[in-house]
Amino acid sequence: AYKRFSELLPKEERENACSARVPKSQILTLPELRANPFQHRICRVFSTSGDGDDSMSFEDFLDMLSVFSDSATSDVKSHYAFRIFDFDDDGTLDRKDLEKLVNCLTGQGEESRLSNAEMEQLIQNILEESDIDKDGTINLSEFQHVVSRSPDFARYGVLQ
């Protein structure tokens, strides 16, 4: 992992890779993240940089790898998945977050988006299924409850 991290840095900074921070644009060149529609959210969630530029240090990089690995528990994975899906960082998944999530899944581009009626129907269904206290948003516990019974979550959320 250290090797891959240091490859992302420009040549002159590779000696002290432990303390250097890699800018977001470099992180996004990783093959696993390149094709991922949630790449920006992943960088935002794992980055601990205070100035909001989403750069990642080596420790952030390790964090990211450990969460996505085989050996992370589903609690950890679902916790981070919730943070990744929470586009406005308010601690709950409301309708706008869900809408952005579905748009990410179906692809960029106008023709790949669902129509408004379909989106409404879909979000209605999702909230019906997972919003237990019927407040119109999904909080962390509801999300973890739903995801724990989802058979594909453990399979899909794993990087090599």
Partner: protein
């Protein structure tokens, strides 16, 4: 926000699903209540609990399991280590030893995963093509292993002792038990292994059809002519071993498949019982994080969009169906009945043609012994006629079914399932019809002499070898067809599509990797192997080699000539579906084997069951040789006085579990209602901090 999130957590933690997850985690070593510290405030709370853990006899959760950044995990680990000072020496030792044990187990697990066959290949397929296709290849790997284990079982219990005593190794000999009360004419059997000079062509023909020189080898039932053998001083009862090895491999397959499918069954049960999870599953767990290739990502986007749109459309369709008028319903039902009649007609057509082909092939091929001149003109085509007809039926019938189902106006998901079920039925029933027609030939008896033997001794002095040969031919032909389709259809198609840019060719395009078709293909092969192993003990070895080669060929064909499916089958449900169909194949294999072993008289001229009426008769014969007490017990277990109460007890246990499941469901409903009410109850809403 935080506190409101806290109280529902308590209710959620009372749900049965959560409790069972807790229990599972408890057996893994920790018994602490799940706490998810979300920010430094909660972390401080966790730290504060440190000294209090002296009362607990449990190990703390490893820092790895907390969703925190590395810096915060370091702080947590420091606190945990500080706690250790508060504990007594015994508890300290327990904690450190459990930690190191967990570490060791983790490393052992990692090492053992390196031993897995084809781990890297399957991983790379998963990365490029998604988990649906990957599940096909791991299913193939499972079958390779299963067949290999079955082969080891049969070889060590049946073939090896025969070879040892035939060649007189280890000071062994065989005791020929003289046949009693058997008509002498039934025991005449002279298989013509190739004597004298023969053309090379004959060897090839024999290799492909299992006759000639192959018939007298260890491959077929007829080789095992030993009754009992003495290896040094120990007597080894070969007939009993043969029978028990057969039951053993069937039981082993059953147990292994059930074990593998239990996980998928639990999820499927949850999935179907509450029709609620499908949208959340697709949206929250829909993106496959293994995808690294932008093309694959584009396809995945498209497939997700397609899947979501189809599901929404299906929901709209369901609402429309619920609004149907009586007249429309009548029309649709009568149309469906009509189409089902057509389906049954197609099936009967297939079965009848297989029956006729088998009869024709048997009448015109050179059966191993005939009192007249051996017919050289009986060529390979006639031998393979049943296999060809079966393959043709397996190819045409699914096309017809998928054409017909469009008129039946079902919802799309049900359409797929019904077509698949019909295809499964066609494939497995075809084998049944073949065997049935073989048996009708074998037991066709008109003369008295024939009736004395119980089977047609003139044409089939060693009928088990005949059946074994048919199974062998089916397996070889299946393998040849798979190879031929890939070589002569897929690769030329790919060449055509890449080099020729005219419209119709481009419109045809590359074929998708049809997961269900491929899976049905290998399940069909596996059913043949299960049925055939009794008649031909080395068949599992052939099946292992066949599936081994098929893995590589399919992988190459997938990478070079296929485009990924537009409608991906979900991995979790497809795994369970494959195993269920495999189980159906296994249970269907029990029927012909049961009839052969227990009902049809075993051939008197060859095989280890020569001295018994049927193959099964060796078991009562052995039991009669047991001491009296044991014999009484065994007879008691097999009698009705035992079986009926046993059956009733099993029913009672089943009713208990059904009642328990119903009670759990009621609890879930009640808790869910409570959760909704809790939000508005002033008692529970504590003031925000």
């Amino acid at each position: 926000e935080e506190t409101r999130g806290a109280t529902p957590v308590d209710f959620l933690q009372q749900l049965p699903s959560y409790q069972s997850a807790l229990r599972r985690r408890a057996t893994a070593g920790t018994q602490e209540r799940r706490s998810a510290p979300q920010d430094p405030a909660e972390l401080r709370a966790a730290e504060g609990h440190g000294p209090q853990q002296e009362g607990d006899e449990v190990a703390a959760r490893p820092a790895r399991e907390h969703p925190l950044t590395i810096a915060e995990k370091r702080r947590l680990r420091y606190c945990q280590q500080a706690d250790i000072k508060y504990l007594s020496g015994w508890k300290q030792w327990k904690r450190t030893s459990s930690k190191s044990l967990k570490k060791v187990l983790g490393e052992v697990k990692e090492l053992s995963s390196y031993l897995e066959l084809w781990r890297h290949d399957i991983h790379s397929i998963e990365g490029k093509f998604g988990t649906g296709i990957q599940s096909y290849f791991s299913f193939l790997r499972f079958l390779v292993l299963l067949n290999f284990i079955i082969f080891i079982l049969m070889f060590s219990l049946v073939t090896l002792p025969s070879i040892i005593s035939k060649y007189g190794m280890f000071n062994s000999s065989f005791a020929k038990i003289p046949p009693k009360n058997i008509e002498p004419h039934c025991t005449v059997y002279e298989p013509s292994g190739n004597k004298g000079l023969v053309y090379f062509y004959t060897y090839l023909k024999d290799l492909l059809s299992g006759t000639g020189f192959l018939e007298v080898t260890v491959l077929f039932y007829g080789y095992y002519t030993i009754d009992a053998e003495w290896i040094s001083i120990q007597k080894y009862n070969l007939p009993l071993a043969y029978l028990l090895a057969t039951f053993g491999y069937l039981a082993l397959s059953l147990v292994w498949i059930i074990k593998r499918s239990v996980g998928g069954f639990k999820q499927n049960l949850v999935h179907n019982k509450d029709p609620f999870q499908s949208y959340c599953n697709k949206v929250f767990a829909g993106w496959d994080f293994c995808i690294t290739d932008p093309n694959a990502a584009r396809l995945k986007h498209r497939s997700l969009q397609y899947e979501l749109q189809t599901d929404l459309e299906e929901e709209r369709l369901k609402r429309k169906i619920a609004d149907r008028t009586m007249k429309e319903k009548l029309r649709i039902y009568s149309l469906r009945i009509f189409i089902n009649i057509i389906v049954i007609a197609v099936l009967s057509g297939c079965f009848y043609s297989i029956y006729r082909a088998t009869v024709f092939s048997q009448e015109n091929s050179n059966v191993s012994i005939r009192h007249d001149v051996r017919r050289d003109s009986a060529n390979l085509l006639v031998q393979y006629l049943p296999s060809m007809v079966i393959t043709l039926a397996n190819f045409i019938a699914p096309q017809i079914f998928s054409f017909l189902i469009r008129f039946e106006d079902y919802s799309p998901a049900f359409e797929i399932r019904l077509t698949l079920m019909r295809c499964v039925f066609v494939r497995l029933a075809n084998i049944g019809v073949l065997l049935f027609s073989l048996w009708s030939q074998i037991s066709y008896c008109t003369t008295d002499k024939c009736n004395a033997c119980g089977y047609n001794y003139e044409l089939y002095p060693c009928w088990e070898s005949e059946v074994g040969q048919e199974m062998y031919k089916l397996m070889i032909f299946d393998f040849i067809i798979i190879l031929a389709v890939i070589l002569f259809v897929d690769f030329p198609r790919k060449l055509l599509v890449t080099h020729c840019s005219c419209k119709p060719v481009q419109w045809c395009g590359l074929q998708e990797f049809g997961i269900s078709d491929n899976v049905l293909e290998i399940i069909y092969g596996q059913t043949i192997c299960w049925i055939g192993t009794f008649f031909s003990p080395l068949l599992p070895a052939i099946a292992t080699i066949k599936y081994f080669i098929i893995f590589y060929i399919k992988k190459i064909s997938l990478i070079h000539t296929r485009k990924p499916a537009a409608r991906p089958i979900r991995a979790s449900s497809s795994n369970f579906f494959f195993l269920v169909v495999l189980l159906i194949g296994l249970i269907l294999a029990f029927i012909p084997l049961g009839i052969s072993i227990a009902h049809i008289p075993s051939s008197k001229a060859c095989g280890p069951f020569r001295n018994f009426d049927t193959s099964w008769a060796v078991v009562p014969h052995t039991i009669d040789g047991f001491p009296t007490g044991l014999r009484q017990v065994l007879y008691g277990i097999a009698s009705e006085a035992f079986a009926v109460p046993f059956f009733m007890v099993i029913c009672l246990i089943m009713f208990y579990f059904i009642a328990l499941a119903g009670a759990h469901k009621r609890v879930v409903e009640q808790l869910r209602e409570q959760l909704v009410m809790v939000r508005f109850d002033p008692l529970f809403c504590s003031p925000k901090v």
